[in-house]
């Protein structure tokens, strides 16, 4: 089963490492640089000042706008400064720097198991908000926003995507293998909070064994669900493709028309939901895959937010040779970084150090109209024509209409033998349109 058109098997299976051999907990950061948000417009309001003592899991940033989420300290210690740092996109964001010190209030203690079933939906939503839980993935946003959106329709359906979208990244697969129980409980909590109807569980063939356990847990909790195995094809993990492949189950297994508006969630988010509501623990750590040919010992680590990327790479033996490019999150859609002192945030799922051979870079030549970009576009666009328009007539209406459907998967640029900067041209054009639109307002 796969989504309708386009897409490509870009060696997803080949770059995933055997999970059981390479898992571990990262060392606790001696200094945590905790970002107050991901972008300039979703920063939480800082609640602490330099010199303040903070406990592990204490709230240090309060969300005062829709896009922001609460921020908590991943380590106990003292706030040394409120620093301006650059996020991977190069924008300035604020971060709270905490120096490790004092005793841990959560780590090493017996994990809590709060009887959440006595809570109302509103209480659960409040807890999720308080603990700063995000719905992760391509369209990351605060989990309470997802739930409130879902509640607008009666008995909303969810799509739980267990799959890892990108090559090298196996964070979701590990979450599925290690914490199926937590995912199931998180799903049950989410269902209560959203008064949900049912869920489509989407997984890939390599996850068949692990997903069995998950499905058993889900069934034993009485959650209505439909499992769906999909091929390992990029960009299956994207929202549009998830909905498209789930739609194929209509109308036999799912009432018609529901998948168009289904809400998408992922395993890591559900674990965070469970930890927040049943474990009384805020979102301060997550699985991060450290991979790529230029990493000595590729591993998947459980990492606290605020740990520096350079330190995480150190824990994996450092670099093998000189990495050609270091990418935060997946190699297809992630950000290339040069500063290894930036911290990981809630939405980062991977650090991939790519060697020159892996990247397959080559000289840019002219478009020869080979049509490969047209073949692979999962949104049925014509990248060749759109690129010409970007160059010759960037203001054209046809261009902006088409680009609004572009999901930035990057397959066109990946496959172009002439190495045309297709995605770059599309994104710059859209950014230009956006900025002009903003100025006009």
């Amino acid at each position: 089963m796969s989504f309708g058109r386009g897409g490509l098997d870009i060696g997803l299976k080949r770059t995933r490492y055997p999970l059981n051999e390479r898992v571990g907990n990262a060392f606790l950061p001696v200094q945590a640089i905790v970002p107050l948000g991901r972008e300039a417009d979703d920063q939480a309001r800082c609640l602490v000042f330099p010199g303040d003592r903070v406990e592990e899991c204490q709230i240090i940033g309060r969300a005062d706008r829709r896009e922001a989420s609460n921020i908590h300290s991943p380590i106990p210690g003292t706030v040394s400064e409120i620093r301006s740092i650059r996020n991977p996109a190069g924008h300035i964001i604020q971060a709270v720097v905490v120096e490790l010190g004092g005793s841990f209030s959560v780590l090493g203690r017996k994990p809590e198991n709060f009887p959440w079933r006595s809570l109302s939906a509103a209480d659960i939503i409040h807890l999720i908000t308080e603990k700063g839980v995000l719905r992760l993935g391509k369209e990351a946003k605060p989990m309470q926003q997802v739930i409130l959106d879902a509640r607008k329709s009666g008995e909303p359906w969810f799509i739980l995507s267990c799959i890892d979208t990108e090559p090298h990244v196996a964070s979701e697969s590990l979450a599925l293998a290690e914490r199926a129980h937590a995912i199931a409980e998180g799903l049950e909590i989410l269902f209560k909070a959203a008064s949900a109807g049912a869920a489509v569980i989407i997984y890939s063939p390599s996850q068949s064994a692990a997903v069995e356990r998950l499905l058993e847990e889900i069934s034993s909790r009485g959650i209505k669900h439909v499992p769906l195995m999909v091929q390992d094809r990029y960009p299956q993990g994207f929202p549009s493709q998830l909905r498209s492949v789930a739609k194929s189950l209509e109308p036999r297994l799912i009432p018609a028309g529901l998948m168009e508006a289904a809400h998408i969630i992922d395993s890591s988010s559900l674990i965070a939901v469970r930890d927040a509501v049943a474990g009384n623990k805020p979102f301060i750590e997550r699985y991060i895959t450290v991979a790529g040919d230029a990493i000595k010992q590729p591993r998947i680590l459980k990492v606290r937010i605020g740990m520096k990327i350079g330190d995480i790479i150190e824990e994996c033996g450092g670099f093998r040779g000189v990495p050609e490019r270091i990418v935060l999150d997946g190699p297809m859609t992630g950000h290339a970084i040069t500063d290894l002192d930036i911290p990981v945030g809630k939405t980062n799922s991977a650090i991939v150090a790519l060697s020159k051979q892996e990247i397959n870079e080559s000289r840019r030549t002219s478009c020869v109209r080979c049509g490969r970009c047209v073949d692979v576009c999962p949104e049925a666009l014509d990248p060749q024509r759109l690129y010409s328009l970007c160059v010759l007539d960037p203001e054209s209406r046809a261009l902006s209409a088409a680009l609004s459907s572009c999901s930035s998967c990057g397959l066109c640029a990946y496959i172009c033998p002439s190495r045309l900067p297709l995605l770059e041209a599309f994104r710059r054009t859209m950014l230009g349109h956006e900025q002009r639109g903003a100025r006009r307002c």
């Binding site: 946003k141 290339a336 892996e358 397959n360 000289r363 002219s366 640029a413 990946y414 995605l423 994104r427």
Partner: protein
């Protein structure tokens, strides 16, 4: 909220192993068995023709790309154009023919329109068409392949020309051709083994045509080696299989229904196998016709493109003044590609 437009503009950070250079090199490698056969069969005339075509192409490419302050010899496309021109020429053609054909292809068809990616006709096929039109006598410079020189009474014309001149309607049983001993041997093996059990029998002479023991253009004669190279580039996804399938399919079908020799025949008794094994149809179908610049961008368009080329090739064989006109079929269809290109495009 993470806006998709805020994504790193240098994403994706991975590329497919295929690059423009690797695709072109793949095509050149796929042609090399046929090239070596041409050298082996025709000796130094063939080597000189191909060398002249390639060097001329490279020289003019270097000149014009220098005018554009670029060095495009690296992408290998000029080399490939020269190679295809050389392979499409008769081995005995005087050297000015490959030089002029390559010059026309590179300078007029490619660079006057803007270089790689901008040509609207296949440069190599346009160069060959020019050669046919400007120097028809020189284009008759056929030689007898080395494997066949010992056989008495073998004409130096191509099989198509010989049969047309004799007014014959079919190849098998025409009694005109002398087959080599290798042909007798292999035909015997196939008939005893494979075809005998299927109830059909392969007449003598076809193995000669298939393996390349016949006069013809340097690269077109060895169907066997061309197919070997083609299977490789199809497996490596360098060319799109629908183009050669559409060309050969339509050509073979029309040849079977209507015959492809000027002699009159009843319907459905044409010698499709002979038609496929002679002339440059197989060479053209897998190599020049698959040039991405001048072929449609989507699958439905490519199928129509292939059907058109196949039909035109058949028409030129059946009723054309020259023996065959594959090069003309390609460039005529190239001119229709802008109209074909819209096929299969999603509306809205």
């Amino acid at each position: 909220m993470l806006n998709k437009n805020r994504q790193d503009p240098s994403a994706p950070h991975l590329y497919s192993p295929q690059s423009q250079a690797s695709l072109t090199v793949g095509m050149i490698l796929a042609l090399s068995p046929a090239v070596f056969w041409g050298f082996a069969a025709f000796g130094s005339p063939a080597a000189l023709t191909i060398a002249a075509a390639i060097l001329s192409a490279l020289a003019f490419e270097a000149l014009f790309s220098a005018l554009r302050r670029d060095f495009t010899l690296r992408d290998g496309s000029a080399f490939l154009t020269g190679l295809i021109i050389g392979l499409s020429l008769p081995p005995g053609a005087p050297l000015f023919v490959p030089i002029a054909a390559s010059a026309f292809a590179i300078v007029v068809v490619k660079w006057s329109f803007g270089g790689l990616g901008a040509n609207w006709m296949n440069p190599a096929m346009a160069g060959i068409a020019l050669a046919y039109l400007a120097w028809p006598g020189a284009m008759e410079g056929w030689l007898v392949p080395r494997g066949m020189v010992n056989i008495q009474g073998l004409s130096t014309s191509t099989p198509i020309a010989t049969l047309s001149a004799a007014g014959a309607a079919s190849f098998a049983g025409s009694g005109i051709f002398v087959t080599s001993s290798a042909d007798t041997f292999f035909t015997g093996i196939l008939n005893d083994g494979l075809f005998g059990s299927l109830g059909v029998s392969l007449p003598p002479g076809y193995m000669d045509l298939f393996s390349g023991n016949r006069p013809g253009a340097i690269g077109e004669i060895s169907i066997l080696l061309l197919l070997a190279g083609s299977l490789w580039i199809i497996a490596k996804r360098i060319i799109r299989v629908e183009i050669p399938v559409a060309i050969l399919g339509s050509f073979a079908l029309l040849s079977w229904i209507f015959g492809s020799l000027p002699g009159q025949l009843s319907l459905f008794s044409g010698d499709a196998l002979f038609s496929l094994f002679t002339g440059s149809i197989v060479f053209t179908a897998f190599f020049p016709a698959c040039d991405p610049v001048t072929s449609p961008i989507r699958r439905p368009g490519r199928i129509v493109y292939g059907l058109l080329i196949g039909t035109l090739c058949w028409a030129f064989r059946k009723a054309g003044a020259m023996g065959e006109g594959a090069a003309f079929a390609v460039i005529i269809t190239n001119c229709l590609v802008p109209a074909i290109d819209g096929l299969g495009r999603e509306r809205g």
